[in-house]
Amino acid sequence: MRMLAALLIAGAVASLSVSAAAAELRVIAVDTNLADIAKQVAGDRASVESLARPSDDPHHVVARPSMIVKLSRADVFARIGMGLDMWADALLDRAGNASVQPDGKGYADCSRGLRALDVPTGRIDPSMGDLHPEGNPHYLLDPAQGILAAGNIAAALIRVDPAGQAYYHSRFLQFGERVKAGLQRWSTALKGLPSRDVVPFHKSWAYFLARFGLREFGVLEPKPGVEPSPGHVGALGQSIKRAGVKVILCESFRSKRWPDLLAGQCGATAAFVPVAVGADPQAGDYVAMFDTIVQRLVSAAR
């Protein structure tokens, strides 16, 4: 009992000294895309870390205790929301940090204000695959929605650090301008595609396709989150061949097995593109990531 009391007192003292020593703001983001956007907005007023690795699929991140430590010391927590990063809830419950809990000053659900696509209507059930009731959560693959995310992060930073309001606001505007310049560039590049139809591996490209006027001809997964089957791939391959679709669009973390099988059947090209900052040497930041995506998409379509 005495040992326990001594441990508790020592811990409390260490707790106080740790909080006193922490002067710089700490931002924790669920993935490297939000981490990069947060870096661009927070500049040198905060240190930023991502919970997920660049190679992770945001659906399937393995929540680990070391992530709790990061969250427990965070001033701002930026998440994708819409059920995509549900794995982070178990971390929040354990972090014991009021600032980053929902409704805390430093909590930024970056989907706030989003006009969601693919919102299911009527009854949904697991036989339809892994559907998100709030709608398609892959909005960060529309570069324009990066502005929305940056706005939500900037608002949280200002709540936590009001003295930096002008600084965060000005960096947020700079980020917005960078993205808008990129939109012009990517839009022009994609206008020249011979076909507007593409076949994604997973239904994660809805926002990207809508942004650039492209169409989802079919999806390699028969249902969201369900492994492709040879029968589905065979039928899809025939339709692709008939329609002359050129591109199978895959996140770089996907296995090449099914896209290559489909490509072999229909003559289309599988384009493996980074969907997280740092997932590819060329995807050094959020804007550069879209430069890479667009460049590979255009090359695959030729």
Binding site: R94, G96, P133, H169, F172
Partner: protein
């Protein structure tokens, strides 16, 4: 569009002449009028939609619309009261999920009622919701084969995430005790079809649970996850399930065996060795008195090494050891029995997982016997919450306590887990 038509038809029906004869007489004229009204309304709706689209496009232009796609979000900071704008369908219901755990056991030894049958083993109804700022409620109602499918409360507790001290949280209510890595996990979420013998024989065949309070504190140790959890829980005779009949109908005092209020604690440490590898070690303890007056103590130690490879690939090495000590009230002599398992799991992608597990456990004193098994495990995930799994075990069982005894036995367990609804688990 169908709704609009139905609405118009309903309005006209309400406004229709009450006299059916008069209505019949003016039949064709009314039909023409109705068609004209519908056409006009449809045109009005089209006009409104066009105006709306123009306004939306206009707001895009204001923010520097650069593509033909949806409006680019304005580069303005969101207001403090800005709400999420997703589905727009608000609901006060908690997250509700249902899980079924079906087991089929192909046993070489005779005597077990479930031998060579494939049937539902347990059904769980899970509810969870944030009930106040910093307070999360979770409950699991379970109906199992052991209780003849009578619904009972497996877990029902609230988690406090804001207790005013950094890193401090707590729980209040009934839950599976945070004893080691596997005990807190529900059978449908465990990576095995059959629970390791050490937990079934020395902790509880259905998971050691208690009703009470616990505090968990994230110790402020730099670069290390160090979590201390202490609490006091009530273990009722029915919750402890310390006694259960063996395959011959004889009642045996299996599991932890203490009832009443017991203290428990767990120290859990974890260190990220690199961004893809994490090492966890833990120790757990719970102690109390059995109905007979015997002192009982259960101590556990666990180690887990996880390594992520790519987006989905994962290695996990895990081991747990349990020491069950019972001090006889009469002779005051301590009798310790131990059990352990080690497992290696490998997931090459998000759909499949392969595993190897070695179990070695004895029964708690004064029972004799135990089991020593080597298992091969193959899991295939169909969706996030549904999977099927095969576990092939070979070894010796020298007790009939839960399954029939046999030396050189070979058992095949087929598991099918299905789930529906939104659900999350506390981190383990």
């Amino acid at each position: 569009m169908r709704t609009i038509w139905a609405y118009i038809a309903l309005c006209l029906a309400i406004a229709a002449p009450a006299d059916p004869v008069a209505a019949q007489a003016s039949g064709s004229t009314d039909l023409d009028q109705l068609k004209a009204i519908v056409t006009k309304q449809a045109e009005t709706i089209r006009e409104l939609q066009e105006r709306l689209a123009k306004l939306e496009a206009g707001s895009g232009a204001d923010t520097g619309q650069t593509t033909d796609g949806p409006p680019v979000p304005a580069v303005v900071l969101p207001g403090p009261a800005r709400k999420a704008a997703q589905s727009g369908s608000a609901s006060a219901l908690p997250d509700i999920a249902v899980f079924g755990n079906n087991l089929g056991r192909m046993l070489t030894a005779k005597g077990e009622p479930s031998r060579n049958q494939f049937r539902i083993s347990e059904l769980e109804l899970a509810l969870q919701q944030r009930v106040a700022d910093g307070v999360l409620f979770r409950s699991t109602l379970a109906a199992g084969e052991e209780g003849d499918f009578g619904m009972g409360l497996e877990e029902g507790y609230v988690t406090f995430t804001k207790l005013g001290v950094p890193g401090l949280g707590g729980t209040l209510g009934k839950r599976r005790l945070p004893f080691g890595k596997l005990n807190p996990i529900h059978p449908h979420a465990a990576p095995y079809a059959e629970t390791p013998g050490a937990l079934r024989y020395l902790a509880d065949p259905d998971g050691l649970a208690g009703n009470g309070v616990a505090l968990n504190w994230l110790l402020p140790v730099p670069s290390l996850f160090a979590n201390l959890e202490v609490g006091a829980v009530q273990i009722g005779a029915s919750d402890a399930e310390a006694s259960r009949p063996d395959v011959t109908g004889t009642t045996l005092p299996l599991g932890f065996g203490a009832t009443g209020t017991v203290p428990m604690g767990r120290l859990w440490l974890s260190k990220a060795l690199n961004p893809s590898t994490e090492l966890e070690v833990g120790s757990s303890a719970v102690a109390g008195k059995a109905d007979s007056g015997d002192s009982v103590r259960l101590i556990g130690a666990d180690v887990t090494l996880k390594q992520m490879r790519g987006a989905f690939g994962r290695w996990q090495l895990q081991g747990e050891a349990l020491w069950h000590t019972r001090k006889d009230a009469g002779s005051r002599l301590p009798h310790t029995r131990s059990g352990a398992y080690v497992s290696a799991l490998y997931a090459p992608d998000q759909y499949r997982e392969f595993g190897l597990r070695y179990d070695d456990s004895r029964l708690p004193w004064p029972l004799e016997g135990g089991e020593r098994l080597l298992s091969l495990i193959w899991s295939n995930r169909m969706t996030e919450s549904s999977l099927w799994r095969l576990q092939l075990a070979h070894g010796d069982r020298t007790t009939d306590a839960l399954l029939p005894a046999r030396r050189g036995l070979t058992e095949l367990t087929l598991q099918f887990v299905w789930g529906a609804g939104s659900h999350s688990h506390p981190l383990q």
